[in-house]
Structures are given as structure tokens and as C-alpha cells.
């Protein structure tokens, strides 16, 4: 009895302390970044090209590299992921094949991302001859976010009421019509919300792309799939490695740019989700 009461009083405090510690840790990181980087924020940081002069160096190739690589990843992963999710949840609900695929996908989601980079470089880059290019980076990232997209899509598809499907079937709809006209439109907002999260995951990913592109000096934005590239996290990382104090501050400014980008995408996803929940509650 006494032990139970003691626990009742102690446990919440332990938890609260743990929470506070992690919040304080995060907050001090953010403050440190803001303190170091805010002074270096300038239009040139976004517009400028890389340079050995920290006052002129900018993120332009890295931003465009991120857009290319992540864009390609989404272009591949979104249709593939949604199609997989539709197949798994609408066409083979009970099949052993779908269970096997789902099991493998959820396991894939737990593989460290650097492994994707290694496999991507050796298979796509060397074996298929795509080199350390946008193509290799984008395809590798697409496989990294594919499980995420499949899982969020399946969740969105599952939330489509069964009675809507039955209502359509009862009017003489075929299965493809039910999927195209009921399931997909109703699941689409949820799929998009999840996809934004996938984009922001891909944007922030550094390890697999570090393996693929290395820390090369990229002079300009890519102009084709076979061009070399750098991305935001890598450019930031390469600045951190420089000995000059200014570059360290510049990298903090780059982190701010990246954070603002990621946070706004995540907020967009949250806003979208809330809007959808309200609509559904009507």
C-alpha cells in the first residue's frame, strides 16, 4: 500500500524531470544555433553560390540540389507507395502475399538510412552506372521514404468508411470504380498529409546522401538527372568542417534555413490534418 502511494507520487515527478531535461536540452541547442547563426542570415545566403569567402558563400546549389533529389524521390515514391497501399488494402486484404509485403515494408522502415545510401551507391551508382548523380540520390531517397508513404497511405485508406464502399458497390460499381471514385478521393487528403511528412524527412536526410555524393564542392544547381549534387544538410555539414569561425556561424545560419523549411512543412501537414478532421466531424 505505502509503496504504491509512494510510487504514485514519485513516478510523475521522475517523468516530469525527464521531460524538462529533454526540453531544456532542445531549447539550448536552438538558442545556441539562433545566437550563432542569426547574424549571418541574409538574402545572399539563399541566393548565393558556394565560395571560400564566408561573407559571399550561399546555399543556392544546395537548395536546388535538395529540390531535385527530394522532388525525384517523391515523383517515384508517391505513385509507387500509393499504388502499393491500394493493392495491399483494397485488392488482397486477406492474402498471404500482402501480409508478407506489409511485414517487409515495416521492417524496411527500421533499416538505418545509411544502409540505403550504401546499397544505392553500389547498385545504382556503380552497377547500373548512374554514378554519384541526382538520379542515384533521388532513387535512393525514394526507397527510403517508400515504406513511410505506404504506411500512411494504408492508414488513410483504412479510414474511408466501409459503408461508402458498400454504397458504391450497391449501385453497380466495379472494384476499380470504387477505388478510383470513392477510396482514392477520400483517402487523398490523408495521403497528402503523410507525404508532406515524407518530404520533410527526405529533406533532412544526410547520411545516405553523404555516402552517395560525398562532400564535393558543387559550383551550381543541377541541370539534369546525371549531374552531381549537394543538398542542404550536406552543405551545412561541409561548412561545419571548415576551420574558420565565420563558416561555423554560416553553418548555424544554414541550420536555421533548414529548420524553418522543415517546421513549416510539418505545420502545413498538421494544419491540413486538423482541417480534414473538422471536415469529417461535420
Amino acid at each position: 500500500m505505502a509503496l504504491k502511494q509512494l510510487l504514485d507520487r514519485v513516478v510523475p515527478r521522475v517523468l516530469l524531470t525527464a521531460v524538462s531535461l529533454s526540453v531544456i536540452f532542445l531549447a539550448s541547442l536552438l538558442i545556441e544555433v539562433a545566437y550563432t547563426g542569426l547574424g549571418m542570415l541574409s538574402p545572399n545566403l539563399i541566393r548565393g553560390y558556394p565560395s571560400s569567402d564566408p561573407s559571399r558563400a550561399g546555399l543556392r546549389p544546395a537548395i536546388w540540389g535538395s529540390v531535385w533529389v527530394v522532388g525525384l524521390a517523391m515523383l517515384v515514391a508517391l505513385p509507387l507507395g500509393v499504388a502499393t497501399a491500394l493493392y495491399l488494402s483494397e485488392y488482397s486484404r486477406r492474402g498471404w502475399l500482402s501480409k508478407l509485403i506489409y511485414f517487409n515494408l515495416t521492417n524496411l522502415a527500421a533499416v538505418p538510412s545509411v544502409v540505403y545510401g550504401l546499397v544505392g551507391l553500389s547498385f545504382l551508382g556503380y552497377f547500373m552506372g548512374a554514378g554519384r548523380s541526382v538520379l542515384t540520390g533521388g532513387l535512393t531517397l525514394s526507397f527510403l521514404i517508400l515504406p513511410l508513404i505506404v504506411v500512411v497511405s494504408m492508414e488513410a485508406i483504412r479510414s474511408v468508411p466501409e459503408l461508402h464502399r458498400l454504397g458504391a458497390y450497391a449501385l453497380g460499381a466495379t472494384r476499380s470504380q470504387v477505388v478510383a471514385r470513392i477510396v482514392l478521393p477520400e483517402a487523398l487528403p490523408g495521403i497528402l498529409t503523410g507525404s508532406i511528412l515524407a518530404v520533410s524527412r527526405a529533406m533532412g536526410e544526410a547520411a545516405p546522401l553523404l555516402v552517395i555524393s560525398g562532400l564535393i564542392f558543387v559550383r551550381d544547381a543541377p541541370s539534369g538527372l546525371l549531374d552531381g549534387f549537394t543538398v542542404l544538410p550536406l552543405q551545412i555539414f561541409s561548412w561545419i568542417l571548415r576551420p574558420q569561425e565565420e563558416f561555423r556561424r554560416l553553418s548555424a545560419a544554414g541550420i536555421i534555413v533548414l529548420l524553418v523549411l522543415l517546421l513549416s512543412m510539418n505545420s502545413l501537414a498538421i494544419v491540413l490534418r486538423n482541417m480534414l478532421q473538422e471536415r469529417r466531424a461535420e
Binding site: G167, A168, A170, L171, G172, T174, R181
Partner: protein, 257 residues
């Protein structure tokens, strides 16, 4: 007329889910242009029987149908019969109103569009809404989301949606179960007008409702294994005033109280 005065006829119909029978050996005939009510205690297989009349059971994994269901003399479970075609000709309305999350107009036009009907859409939508006694209430708000309608209006919209594809039979599974008495009365009145053009088969747990609107009534009761069997079927008046079996009498009396 193919099939004579009976549009649907079941012959030794049994339905099982994963080997467990929900209804067993049901043979009955449904006359055209009339309302047939199916009553019976909860879980005795009324919905199962109804779903087997337009092959909606095909969508349930593990469901198996034995026996025959003749629609205008043709076995709808026979080789070469497309369940999609069966469902277009034998419409269904569910217990809970289930409008699609789209406009009132698009809800009614849905069945037409998926069946490739493109011309005269406006006229067909209007006719269906008129038949469902909903036109006057929605004619100025056809582009509004269907969820803005009240529960009773939503259910009549679902009836309009089913009627738009011009089925010959309309199956309704406790269509008023979630509605208030006023909305229920509207649906009942609607069904009695609709029987001039359609054959109506309605499952209901509401005895008075069956007594009010049905021309004939079927009573399902579970057998020893729990599978529903047809224990009584005849003109509604006879079922309610002079049932053949003691069990039916007790059941009806208990429900009317």
C-alpha cells in the same frame, strides 16, 4: 412476364460465414410491385438474406451461398452472371444513411456516371429526387455537401441515389432504424408510393412498421444451430392476427407488448 408475378424467388437458399450457417434452406417468392417485410429477432440472418438477393454477400470474405436465387427466372449465382449487373438492377439501401462525401447532385448522379450514362443527367437526377420525395427540400441546394442534410433527408437521398439507376427491386435493411418518428413516417409513406414502380423488400425490427406498410411479411427464426429459417410467410394481416406457429405469436406479441 419472365418469372410470372414473382420477380425474385429463392430455392433452398443457405448462407454461411466461414462454415457457420446464418440462414438455412430458405425458399420464398417475392411478388412484383409490392412491399415484402422480413422480420425476426436480431442475429437471425435478416441482413444476410437480404444481401444474398443482390450478391452483396460476395463482398464478405468467408461468405458462401448455396441454393438458388432466381431474378426474373435467371439464377443470379449462375455461370456468366455479372454481380455488378445484378446490383445495378437490384438496388440496396442500408441501415445507416451513407451518402458519399460529395454534393447532393453528385450523390444522385454517382450511379449514373459509373454506368456510363452522360446525357440527361440533370433530368434523371431531378426525377430520382422527386421519386424520393426530396426534390422540394433540396432543389435550391443541389451543390451543397450531402452531409449538411438531416439524417432523414440523408436516408431519402440514399433512396434517390439507388432509384437513379432505375433498378427493378429495392432492398432496404432497417432503413429507418436510426431515424426519429417523423422522418420514419416520411420514409414509410415514400415506400408505399414507390411500390407502384418498384418491388420493395424491407428488413425491419419494427413490427408496427411491417404491419403499416407491408403487403406480405416473412418471419425468420433461428433453428437449434442459430441459423435463421423461414417459419412464417404470408399476407401481413394474417401474420399479425393469426400466425400459424406459437413461436411467431409470442415473438410478435412480445415485440408489440
Amino acid at each position: 412476364m419472365v418469372g410470372g408475378p414473382y420477380i425474385i424467388e429463392t430455392l433452398g437458399l443457405s448462407v454461411s460465414y466461414d462454415g457457420r450457417y446464418a440462414v438455412r434452406n430458405i425458399s420464398m417468392r417475392f411478388p412484383r410491385n409490392s412491399i415484402t417485410a422480413i422480420i425476426g429477432p436480431s442475429g437471425c440472418g435478416k441482413s444476410t438474406l437480404l444481401r444474398s438477393l443482390n450478391r452483396m454477400n460476395d463482398l464478405i470474405p468467408g461468405a458462401r451461398v448455396e441454393g438458388r436465387v432466381l431474378f426474373k427466372g435467371v439464377d443470379i449465382y449462375g455461370d456468366g452472371v455479372d454481380p455488378v449487373d445484378v446490383r445495378r438492377r437490384i438496388g440496396m439501401v442500408f441501415q445507416k444513411p451513407n451518402p458519399f462525401p460529395m454534393s447532393i447532385y453528385d450523390n444522385v448522379a454517382f450511379g449514373l456516371r459509373i454506368n456510363g450514362i452522360k446525357d440527361d443527367l440533370d433530368r434523371r437526377v431531378r426525377r430520382a429526387l422527386e421519386q424520393a420525395a426530396l426534390w422540394d427540400e433540396v432543389k435550391d441546394r443541389l451543390r451543397e455537401n450531402a452531409y449538411k442534410l438531416s439524417g432523414g433527408q440523408q436516408q431519402r437521398l440514399c433512396i434517390a441515389r439507388a432509384l437513379a439507376v432505375e433498378p427493378e427491386v429495392l432492398l432496404l435493411d432497417e432503413p429507418a432504424a436510426s431515424l426519429d418518428p417523423v422522418a420514419t413516417a416520411k420514409i414509410e409513406e415514400l415506400l408505399t408510393t414507390l411500390k407502384q414502380d418498384y418491388t420493395i423488400i424491407i428488413v425491419t425490427h419494427n413490427m408496427q412498421q411491417a404491419a403499416r406498410i407491408a403487403d406480405q411479411t416473412a418471419v425468420l427464426m433461428p433453428d437449434e444451430t442459430g441459423a435463421g429459417t423461414l417459419v412464417e410467410y404470408g399476407p401481413t394481416r394474417q401474420i399479425f392476427t393469426n400466425p400459424r406457429s406459437r413461436r411467431t405469436e409470442d415473438y410478435i406479441r412480445g415485440r408489440i407488448g
